[in-house]
Symmetry: C2
Subunit: 733 residues, 2 copies
């Protein structure tokens, strides 16, 4: 990590100056001026993918747990430290030594130790992946204890540390390599049916398609039949002759895929499917095993998404055993987290629900009886991190301190009593040790770029600092960034905004403004993390003399169910009303030039940007909309129908939220940008909008990033922000 500050600059001339007086003077002058005036940022400093981006990002380090001992993971060295003993960190092993052992065992060398893990608290074994092989290596004896080959083309790998079996997919089918190295083809489905992968387009918290029972002897998996789903015709224009690469994409109101859940039993070598009935227009989510591996629990919900049931199945027969919990809501129920059994009592589990308006924890027994509500309040549980078994506490992160934060708590499962853990500032992310007695706590706060600490769960106190990252923007001319609240259009709800003033701010001047907007569910743009989560591009624009403003409107994340679901069946309407509250606030500021108001956003924010340009054509002068939704009928079934129902059942809502219908309203300058192969908001979104504008005689601008998906990543992200910036400079400056 390079550090640029005045100290460093001043130290330089005194060395160079020893022999050459004139050089001394020249350099001294130059560096002094730089230190006073600060360096300007480039987009490469501020945008992920930029050449100097890592130098302008807070320093980071990798840590993990071996049982209750903390391990620092570097490329060349592993260091270990026992917080219980408050010992000095000592070297566990070095890469050279590891590679000597591997060579002796006729294995290929490892390139780095940064991604090893320690699956067994009671064994001095590290898990390495070298070339196409898993290796368990004993760092005390130097012995390779176990290896497992990784099949060619294996994707979606899921390894169970108890049985050491490996599940994975090849093309559209599911395979297992057993701990002994035997390859089993679990499914043999034709193209169009996918097994062992995440389903329902990763909605409902689904991230994987395989689920090992705790002991690793049974594997539950998703099977998704997409043969009835429309192909979206993506085209690869980078081939010699452009090639057709269709994606299955179920659009709102059209035929959706059918999911079933299979269970493969290593002992019998047989697969059965849970007898859940006709899978047409149904969702199966949040799969969890009972600790014994006898039962599978999952959430079942109809395509309408207005009900969800926790259902238990016999894993050995596939028979339905019981419906334990049923939730309904006139708008939608969105289960996001599988149930979690208490580690010390396998008859009880924790269930998460927004049923009281905020996501909270509920304790149930396995008869489906609610025993208690473990948390409650006008804040929400963000994550169930784990348990402290000794104290019988569940460790969670919540928004209790502030909706902009994420702080840790230990909650007594018996009493519901809550204890704060670690620093009360900022946004925290933790990794618990095996016993749950310790946690590696990584956080940032507005003035804190990054800290990594070890916290004692017992006392709730930090016992050691592993990293205190210096400010990577030291020496740069950083604009003033403030966060505040204003009232939503309902006159009651507090909304958070972030305001970035131009660098070298002069209150007597009038500045152009860019509103950066997202506005959709689940996401939140403003946090009490470093610099309030300001975006690099905001800083760049502030440097170019713009005020940059962001407001998390109703409908966005971390504020509870009613804050979110006010947008139901009419996406965009309430969100825009709130954004106009933000505009009114901006217009009240003496240094803001309301005639030069721009707006920019991506995805849902691209929808919002275009919608604002077309709904308030006399307010917004310039907009840049990226990967926008332009009509919800082109969006997918799972997310889209949750908020909008179907085009058939909510024709008015679809029509009112369609930007195609408003294409004739365009007055200002609007640049629409789309990834040429966007699989999320398909390119049809933008092309149909452009066509609607042409039909109406209006003139948006357009840019396509060939080959890119929903976001421009890598070095092209810098190009994207050059392009966006140029557009505002062309037409808003």
């Amino acid at each position: 990590m390079m550090k640029r500050n005045s100290k460093q600059y001043f130290s330089l001339p005194s060395i160079i100056g020893r022999g050459k007086g004139w050089v001394f003077c020249f350099l001294l002058t130059t560096f002094t001026v730089m230190a006073q005036e600060h360096k300007p940022f480039t987009l490469h400093d501020l945008i992920p993918g930029g050449e100097t981006y890592h130098q302008c990002t807070p320093q980071n380090s990798s840590y993990t747990w071996w049982g209750d001992q903390c391990v620092k993971l570097d490329v060349d060295t592993l260091k270990v430290w026992n917080p219980a003993e408050k010992s000095q960190a000592k070297v566990l092993v070095q890469l050279d030594q590891v590679n000597k052992w591997l060579e002796a065992a006729d294995k290929k060398p490892a390139r780095s130790l940064q991604s090893v893990s320690f699956p067994y608290a009671d064994k001095s074994w590290m898990l390495l992946q070298v070339s196409r092989e898993y290796i368990l290596l004993d760092w005390q004896t130097g012995k390779v204890e176990w290896t497992l080959p990784i099949a060619e083309k294996a994707s979606n790998r899921d390894w169970n540390k108890t049985s050491r079996h490996l599940a994975y997919t090849v093309d559209n089918n599911l395979w297992i390599t057993t701990a002994e190295g035997k390859n089993i083809q679990v499914t043999d489905e034709p193209e169009g049916i996918k097994c062992g992968v995440a389903v329902h387009r990763n909605e409902f918290g689904i991230e994987t398609g395989t689920f090992w029972s705790a002991c690793g002897q049974r594997l539950a998996f998703y099977r998704m039949d997409e043969t009835m789903v429309s192909d979206y015709p993506q085209v690869d224009t980078d081939a010699r002759t452009a090639e057709y690469n269709p994606d299955k994409y179920p659009m709102a109101g059209t035929a959706s895929h059918k999911v079933t859940v299979g269970v493969y039993d290593i002992a019998t070598g047989k697969t059965l499917y849970l007898k859940a009935g006709d899978p047409t227009d149904r969702y199966f989510s949040n799969i969890a095993w009972s600790p014994c591996g006898q039962y599978i629990y999952m959430m079942e919900h109809p395509r309408e998404q207005n009900r969800a049931e926790l259902v238990r199945y016999h894993a050995l027969t596939g028979e339905k055993d019981a419906v334990l919990i049923t939730e309904t809501h006139e708008k939608y129920v969105e289960p996001m987290t599988p149930i979690t059994f208490l580690p010390w009592d396998d008859t009880k589990f924790i269930y998460q629900s927004q049923q009281d308006g905020f996501n909270h924890l509920y304790l149930y027994n396995n008869k489906g009886e609610k025993l208690s509500q473990l948390t409650q309040g006008d804040w929400l549980v963000q994550q169930l991190v784990g348990f402290n078994q000794g104290r019988k506490e569940v460790i969670i992160s919540t928004t209790e301190v502030s909706p902009l934060q994420s702080n840790l708590y230990a909650v007594s499962v018996k009493s519901g009593k809550r204890r704060p853990l670690g620093n009360s500032e900022g946004v925290h992310s933790v990794v618990l040790s095996a016993s749950g007695d310790w946690m590696i706590d990584r956080y940032s706060a507005p003035q804190t770029p990054r800290r990594i600490e070890v916290v004692s769960v017992k006392t709730g106190k930090m016992i050691d600092t592993l990293l205190e990252a210096p400010d990577p923007w030291d020496g740069f001319n950083v604009p003033e960034i403030t966060v505040g609240t204003l009232k939503a259009a309902d006159g009651e709800t507090d909304l958070y905004y972030r305001l970035v003033k131009p660098v070298d701010f002069d209150p007597t001047k009038k500045y152009p403004i860019v509103v950066y907007v997202y506005g959709g569910p689940h996401a939140q743009m403003i946090h009490n993390s470093w610099n309030y989560d300001v975006r690099g591009w905001d800083i760049y624009m502030a440097q170019k003399g713009y005020v940059v403003f962001t407001l998390d409107n109703r409908g966005s994340g971390n504020r509870g169910l009613e804050f979110e679901n006010v947008t139901f069946r009419q996406l965009g309407v309430e969100e825009m009303k709130d954004q106009m509250q933000g505009v009114a606030f901006l217009q009240s500021l003496p240094y803001v030039d309301s005639n030069r108001l721009g707006v920019h956003g991506w995805s849902y924010g691209g929808f919002m940007t275009t919608n604002l340009m077309l709904t308030y054509p006399d307010v917004f002068k310039v907009g840049v909309a990226g990967g926008p939704v332009t009509d919800w009928k082109y969006y997918e079934v799972m997310y889209g129908e949750r908020y909008m129902d179907t085009p058939q059942t909510n024709p008015e809502g679809y029509k009112n939220s369609s930007l195609l219908e408003k294409a004739g309203n365009l007055k200002g300058r609007l640049l629409v940008i789309h990834g040429g192969n966007d699989p999320v908001c398909v390119p049809q979104m933008t092309y149909s909008f452009i066509k609607a504008c042409i039909d109406k005689g209006t003139h948006p601008d357009l840019f396509i990033y060939p080959g890119h998906g929903h976001n421009m990543t890598g070095r092209d992200r810098v190009h994207l922000h050059e392009h966006i910036t140029r557009y505002f400079e062309d037409f808003l400056k």
Copy 2:
């Protein structure tokens, strides 16, 4: 046709003014000012597809021949006039009467008489197409003499007036409906093989895929196997979910289609294929029947296009009979016109060739012996229009008067003596009467919007004026348009340019310039037609204060073989040198602001525009490139390899002409526009260029017209020109 002039404006107040004095004065003032200042054009006036475009286009009328009698075709009335008798025009028949006859025969009514024809000089029969039926109606007796149903989905219809059989295609196969109404399926090929349609992507003058023998008893047809050709993945984004609509598109250097020629014989009901050998990488073009229907002639040329042979086949056996003529050229031979037999001697035919450097006529006998060169000189024959049988003359149009013109001549087949026919000004297009004694001569010249005259072929003189179109731009403020010549970069060749000065031109001012460029083979932008063929958009830009300049560089059409083939294997290089001669000329003009030089072109002109922007980045400030070729490897085999050979045999040439290689040079503002479904210059052209620019960190602008092909047609063409204009106004003004 609406005519706007001062007379009309002055007549208005005197009527309105009768009762209301103050209205009178107000209107008088207003209209007087308008009359003096002239009306400004809108894009709707100037661009095809615009709402008022037809009002600003020279008036036109439809005429045809019934034998040697001239017929005027109107919606409601047919009028006939006999030039030999210099009679008064009289009504032949009216629509009402025609529809009464049709109703009596239980036929549906005709909507218009504008597209009837008169196939038989000796019969008072008109051919109508009403609903899905051909009808021969006798206008003297009112009797329906013959009808033929048109099959559903019939395309590419080809009717023979002698046999009255109708050939057509349904999907990819060829059918015939006989004069008696019997349906015959001629071919039964699977998808991927097309029969009865134009092949070789309409190069080599190919416009149709069926060829009736003179008596209409045998049908030659193309069969094209495209199964080995790459699919270009076109996408219809206007469907509910975007749909995949692939086109077969053989790109330079990749597998090309295979063509064979079939002959169906009505008498035997059998099809044979000409025994031309392996069709791999060969072209079969310029199909012609011997007058007796016993032989088929065609040009055969290898994929390399450096040789062409006129070959004769027995139509009854498919056997090759003789190779009559062979032409070779180290660059390319491009046969464009089938041989034409003399109507009075079926042992002799006229062959057209550029072998002496210009396209001229040669008389051959059917042994393949050259009898004479009928025309010669540093000008070229543009069209063989027909024959005057009485005088044994062939009627042709040529560039003899000027390369910018097309004038008619009668050439004695015996002596080669040439007589001019009709007016020596402008660009003429004629239709000969049955005997060839008369012609309907339609032409325009710089000061003549359009004239239609009847010319006696015998005297060469005009004998009657059918139409003298008034100036549709009368009353508008039309800029000064001039044509001149300057020297090409070779220092010798004269090149023609057209210069449009800004309206209300002030020689003391400095004006921005837009160079409009095409520059590719076959085409020519400047003609001695009305206003020198100025484009409507040129006028619009002149009105906005731009100088608009166009230069037909070497490589373009109508100037002979060497003028064209100087570009061989290095498209763009010589063309750009010549365009820079034009720029030097512009820079010499005192009223031109060389710092504000823009360039615009489409297709080959899009290639030229982009190439100029990237090759002379300090000369051109703003460019708009439409449907550009960006790399010849993405263009088709037939046209592309003629000029460039293949990427395998001319790697240097392809690399040097590739705009992808120059993408990093972009300095000015370049807008690239492409039709979303362009089947000619495929969208990959633009997307690969945009990607190359992104890779190099340069920033072109982009616009896509979803659903459009190689050109924007209809009302969207106005939108296109609004968009192009705005770009120059944004960045060049």
